[in-house]
Amino acid sequence: MSATGPIGHTPPPFFKRGPAPLAQLAFYVALSLLLLVADLRFRMLEPLRLVIATALWPLQRAVLLPVEGMGEAGHYFASLAKLEQENAELRARQLAQANQLLRQAHLEEENRRLRTLLDMAERIDAPARAAEILYAARDPFSRRVIIDRGATHGIESGQAVIDDLGVIGQVTRVFPLTSEVTLLTDKHQMIPVQVARNGLRAVLAGAGGGRMELKYLPANADVAPDDLLVTSGLDGIYLPGLPVAKVVSIDRDNSFAFARIECAPVAGVERHGQVLVLLRRSTPPPEEPAEEPAKPAKGRKQRK
């Protein structure tokens, strides 16, 4: 299409279509592919994501209001009897746990003293922050939830998230007011665990479809159904000893190098509610020997 017609008139606006559709298509497809590669391969686009997410947040919040309102209305109309029953149950549970709770402070103190006696590194208790799961992300290919605490509340990427029963996942992306938690059942999420019964260490990975799999254990590994798996704490992210999953079934097929061990999460991974974000433990780094600065100083002197 030329800019001017045959007699010097501009073409009517009806024909103004910009660049040819195929050229446009090539441009946008190339741009999308570039974004895909930059995001998947190099993780370069987090700032861009942050900007768009911050701009979208008021809209998202506005859409969330009626959804939350419906939930609130449901709570409001829940019968009094049900609430009373729940209250009684909670009281009973609290009483049942009182023994453990009262003794825990004493046990922790004793543990600390024994550890100092044995000259072992002290276990540091992580501070935690309560948060609420706002909603599950709509992406059907992954398992993520959004919680209502973000960078302004001290949440950082990589922190562990637990509920009242065990570990549910890990913070993977932090926005100013919200953060994104990848659940343990996500296919890319792994967590180092050990079998509580015998201390056997392994890696637990999400398997899709809400299940988990204990990976890279030999076919004759000492694992039995109903074994409890707890975090081993080897990664320095999860505190050791948090319950993670229970073994459901074991398939020891000798034609494969590893056993196929299916597990189910202990915590309410696919449910909504209150969670606890464990803030980073500030472990002092091991002291380095103080010989390093000598060499560059020497080099600099020679150059001068």
Partner: protein, 174 residues
């Protein structure tokens, strides 16, 4: 602009650009509603985008698809570029098929739209499977089928402002 709409073949008023962008924005808002893993929730934005690309290929095109797709990528916490690529391809296919599709009655238009929406979902599926994410199950494609069933009401609602007469006339009922 005289284009055949379904059976009545009536001449429509020209579309107002703000109405197009308003409906696209509303569809994006509907997409923001957290429905979690509930199957069969249609992709509202894809439906409205396909509609406007078919009816107004000169006004809505791949640029809109790209921009709204990027917003959806961030809002749904998916890979950046996933919705953008799928919507760009959808916009291209819809606007290049628009001359053909508009000749058919609404039911057959919907049958044309179904493969477009399924293709959009297939593109997203291919992108995510190539990275090794989990397969969401066949119920994932249900949302396209539901969106196709919504083609009738969507066409009626989105063309409603163009059916209105400019001035009311006693001798002319509509």
């Amino acid at each position: 602009m005289i284009q055949p709409t379904h059976s009545s073949r009536r001449i429509l008023l020209p579309v107002r650009p703000w109405f197009i962008w308003l409906t696209l924005g509303l569809a994006a808002l509907l997409n923001l509603i957290p429905t979690g893993r509930l199957p069969g929730i249609p992709d509202w934005l894809a439906l409205v985008l396909a509609f406007w690309c078919i009816h107004q290929p000169l006004k809505v095109g791949m640029g809109a698809g790209f921009a709204f797709g990027l917003a959806m990528d961030v809002a749904q916490a998916s890979v950046l570029g996933q919705h953008a690529l799928a919507y760009v391809l959808l916009a291209f296919a819809a606007s290049s098929l628009s001359r053909r599709i508009l000749w058919f009655p609404l039911t057959q238009q919907a049958l044309h739209v179904l493969p477009l929406l399924l293709g959009t979902q297939l593109v997203m599926l291919a992108i995510r499977m190539s990275v090794g994410d989990e397969f969401p199950g066949l119920a994932y494609f249900l949302s396209s089928v539901v969106a196709t069933l919504l083609w009738h009401p969507a066409s009626y609602l989105l063309l409603l402002p163009q059916y209105q007469p400019i001035e009311r006339d006693e001798n002319r009922p509509i």
